[in-house]
């Protein structure tokens, strides 16, 4: 670590390239904190968006017309407005309308910027996940479901044991794509001051006037994250592959 820091200090002294985060303890701590915030943000958004997608796909098949129209409206709204505007809207408009508590002299909202980032990005990606899951469910042939019914499966049992497992395999590639997009979109959370990597990098380069260096770090960081997600999803796709099918 010592050597590592010395190298970057040396680099700065000789060439002027200032990778301050690698030799200054304070900036290093900020950087590490940003890594964790980013990873927590991504995981929370991924999970929430998948849950929204499942619930949405289920609701789209609902008998009630109101629920179906509501779902269609939700999807159109989130697909056809910029996610950055959505985040700002959730934080500044919806956030203002939600209850807060007295935190010793000032009002503290129950849901902070991190929470609103997860909610708005989760609904944003969830709108796409809903469409992805629905197309997967539609890809399961009616005749396969009929075979299950003829064996005595209830509607719910045939969904659990037959439709979902098949639909999920069909939509994994598209889901994969959308989740990678979501990962990249989490950088928009900097707009409401979530201390994730984009926001932190911005602060560091403001303090140290090292924009190009932090840009390089930022790029490499996200390349690494996307690579890990893509690798993981790919492994999953492979593990789920059915011999002789599709």
């Amino acid at each position: 670590m010592e050597l590592f820091g010395d190298f970057f200090k040396q680099l700065y002294d000789t060439t002027g390239w200032n990778f301050v985060i690698f030799y200054d303890q304070v900036e290093w701590d900020r950087f590490i904190a940003a890594i964790w915030t980013t990873i927590r943000l991504i995981i929370a958004c991924l999970i929430f968006s998948v849950i929204v997608g499942f619930a949405g796909a289920w609701a789209q098949g609902a008998k009630s017309r109101i629920i179906r129209y509501g779902m269609a409206g939700y999807i159109q709204f989130f697909r056809n407005t910029p996610p950055f505007v959505q985040i700002l809207f959730f934080y500044f408009v919806v956030g203002n309308l939600t209850p807060s508590y007295d935190a010793g002299g000032y009002q503290q909202a129950y849901i902070g910027s991190f929470g609103w980032a997860v909610i708005s990005l989760g609904f944003f990606a969830g709108a796409f996940n809903t469409e992805i899951f629905r197309s997967g469910i539609e890809a399961v042939p009616e005749s396969t479901v009929e075979a299950a019914s003829s064996l005595g499966y209830t509607r719910l049992q045939s969904y659990i044991y037959v439709v979902f497992p098949l639909a999920f395999r069909v939509c994994l590639p598209a889901l994969n794509n959308n989740l990678v997009n979501l990962l990249k979109t989490t950088t928009l959370a900097y707009g409401i001051a979530v201390p994730e990597m984009m926001y932190t990098a911005n602060q560091i380069w403001s303090d140290n006037v090292n924009v190009p260096e932090m840009m390089i770090v930022l790029f490499l960081f996200y390349v690494g994250l996307v690579a890990v997600l893509v690798w993981g999803m790919h492994r999953w796709e492979k593990a789920m592959k059915i011999p002789g099918y599709g």
């Binding site: 075979a147 003829s150 011999p243």
Partner: protein, 255 residues
């Protein structure tokens, strides 16, 4: 005999499946226009007829995959055309095999056979596994237990589908043109399996275009056209003494 069956007051001397004046429409299109037929326990009947005459619709009504508008279908005394029908009770009695096999592609052959008894009937896993193995032997698929449907030939898949239906120990089996999607060479292996079943006393309702098979295995043959039964009889008289011109024409085309 289970309580449910007793409660319906059905005895094995009565028809196992009894269809009376069955009418079925899809929207404005009336597909079945008053079909009546009885199937006794242990009998094997074949339904033949031109494409679109309503054969599939008819046997799908028997296990309530299609609802009906008018008439009655009794399966062991249980009325299928009843809004309060216990579908699970019905489907325990009636097994069905489809033209396109419709296996669960994400499950191996043996899992396909074992799934329903475990999840639907909640039977003990070990007992089900034993039963499934014996069914695999019965349809001559030893060694293919762990293959996925996509790794099996059409004929092999269809035999898995038969075993899967048999795993529910049904009293009646419905077969809807189960050899129509198969190569001529593999048709035979599936027909042999069905023939053995019929000979063991399984009650079978078959829709088929295999006249040779119908002649050999069926106790009774029904010829349907445009939603009605035009003519029926045991194979001997049916094939030699068909009276109706529509039957004659159909037989002349197919034989």
């Amino acid at each position: 005999m289970s309580d449910a069956k007793k409660a319906a007051g059905w005895t094995p001397e009565q028809p196992m499946v009894s269809i009376k004046d069955l009418h079925k429409s899809f929207g404005d299109l009336e597909v079945l226009k008053g079909i009546s037929l009885d199937v006794m326990k242990g009998e094997c009947i074949c339904i033949i007829g031109p494409s679109g005459s309503g054969k599939s619709t008819l046997i799908r009504c028997v296990n309530a995959l299609n609802d009906i508008q008018k008439g009655s279908i009794l399966v062991e005394g249980q009325e299928v055309n009843d809004p309060d029908l216990d579908k699970l009770e019905l489907r325990k009695k009636v097994g069905m095999v489809f033209q396109q096999y419709n296996l669960f592609p994400h499950k191996t052959a043996i899992e396909n056979i074992m799934m329903a008894p475990i999840t639907v009937l909640k039977q003990d896993k070990e007992d089900v596994a034993k039963h499934a193995k014996s069914l695999i032997r019965k349809v001559r698929l030893e060694g293919k237990e762990d293959s996925y449907p996509g790794e099996l030939s059409g004929g092999q898949q269809q035999r898995v589908a038969i075993a899967r239906a048999l795993a529910m120990t049904p009293d009646v089996m419905l077969f809807d043109e189960v050899t129509a999607a198969l190569d001529p060479e593999t048709v035979k292996e599936v027909l042999v399996t069905i023939q053995e079943l019929a000979e063991e006393g399984m009650t079978c309702i078959l829709v088929t275009h295999e006249m040779g098979f119908a002649k050999e295995v069926a106790d009774h043959i029904y010829f349907t056209d445009r939603g009605v039964i035009v003519e029926h009889g045991p194979p001997k008289t049916f094939f030699k003494k068909a009276k109706d011109p529509r039957t004659k024409e159909f037989l002349s085309q197919i034989l």
